[in-house]
Amino acid sequence: MSRDKDIGDLIIRTEKVSRVLEDQEFPVTLVRDISIQVKRGEFVAITGPSGSGKSSLLYLLGLLDAPTDGRIFIGKQDTGLLSDKQLAQFRLENIGFVFQFHFLLWEFSVLRNVMLPMMKLQKFKGEEIEDRAVMLLTELGLEAHMFKTPDQLSGGQRQRVAVARALANAPILMLGDEPTGNLDTKSTANVISILKDLVREHKNTIVVVTHDTDFAKQVDRQIHIVDGQVV
């Protein structure tokens, strides 16, 4: 997982980011004046009460949503300057997502699910794609399940497949929205240790939203959000 791109030391930098839904009966502020920084190799947890705007912030960081105010830098890129198409390409190259529900493509095998982002980006070519998918799945202890479809896996296994898929294109940033929110204690511990390994051993940068206080204690830093603002 090479990191030879010149992206600087700050993976995420936001300047007074706000997101207001205007098309409602009355405007709803999801997040307000968020200025945070995440360094390369950091493992950060976003915590806060339900409805405080954690998911909304994560979607902004993942460029799935655009702020109504403020700026978001990923690496050195001011993401406000990118067109829709460029944003998609930027996500493809640089960001990996894991959601609370695994969100795998049902019709495809586990292996194919992991290969998909690589087939799209074509940074890896031909044989390389399958080799890399096998490697990732093996690292995550799924070598026995590669040719199954997602419905033949347990919740914890599916979530690990989702992690493998998020890592497929060797992103500079991995984002998780309650990646353990739907798992039992054992699987939760398993996924947490995998994410920790990624940061410790592979110098990945990870930001996760979580309710789980145990989980939150094990990361480098917590960003606590209440009512859409950092406290």
């Binding site: 993942g62 493809l92 969100f103 019709e107 087939m119 799209k120 980006l121």
Partner: protein, 419 residues
Amino acid sequence: MLTLEIAYAHLMGRKRQTIMSLLGVMLGVGFFIGVSSMMRGSEKDTIDRITNDFPHVGIHDSFRQARRQPLERIQSGQPEDQRATVFISGVKPPVENRGIVNFRDIANYLRTRDDVQFAMTMETPVMLTVSGQTRSMNLVGIVPEEVRGIIHAADSVIQGRLENLYSDSNGVLAGKAFMDQHKLKMGDTVQIVSGSGVTRVMRIVGVFETGRAWNDRRTLLTLLKNTQVIANRPGRINNFYIKLDDPFLAWDFSVQLEKTFGYAAYSWQENMQDMLNTIATRNRIMYAVVGAILLVACFGIYNIISTVVMEKTKDIAILKSMGFSKLDIINIFLLEGFLVGFTGAILGCGLGRLFLHILSGITIRNPGMTRPMPMPLDYGIGQYFFVSGIAIFSAIIAAYLPARKAGALPPVDILRGAA
């Protein structure tokens, strides 16, 4: 190809609906090919038969309008008419056919044209008496070596030979339907009376069968000099039968001939105008019907792709979060439309070919025909491409609306809704 893989997976995930949509397109395409082949086949057959059986241009010894009297010409005030000062009372268009006066000029002109073949005839209506019955017939006087490829009856001799006319100065050839109707056989005699009162006993020296009722029942062929005598018009002819290498030039040629020589010249297009109009109308009806079938097929495609889009909103959000752009998503669903349209079109072409195979075994007897014929079919490859193109194009159009909707889905809403 990744887009193809995803599109295929979506369609396979909804097998029954996909198959129904495919069937819709397939039937539309198949029917089109079957119907279009019959339509075009019969159109071509009709025109072929018309241009084979009838002269492309006929010149008759008549005028479209009575010629203007000298007084009329003076009053018209046109300079070239000013000299027409003679008034003749009682001028009227000729009642009797006198034949074409300047036929030698016309013949000489026609001989200068390489793409023209022609025959000259003298035709006269006669009353024919056979076994006590009387009926009217058209006696056509020909020069046997002139009429090959020009007069259909002369080309359709099934018993005896055209040249038998030379060996029997009272010989005629008659149609098979006429022969059957009166239980006549070769060598039998019939009596004819012309308008000018000449009575002759003619011997049947040959039988032709054109398949056209009017010809086979009403026409008698004999030597030109016989009709000239019977009609009392020695040395005259009253009809030109003209064939052109390209039958579709007939209209213009007839106009030119009429302008040059004055006699009415009718092209086959003019004679058959009603039929050509009917064919055109029939074609329009066919396109409307098949268009309706394809339209229904398109609703099927619209339906399945809308369903897939609705079912797969989660997948769309995943793909977008992964880095698929709006256009990538649109392409996936357009491709689904294309796949249904394309596969349906291929199957439809197969079905259409099968229809043609079945139809080719059927013989029909059209009104106006004296014997059953195999159904005329057009086997042209063009119609397969035409309808397939239409089907694929409409399938993509039908897929476009749901595809655009899919592309515009904001992933955040879906992720929020599902989490």
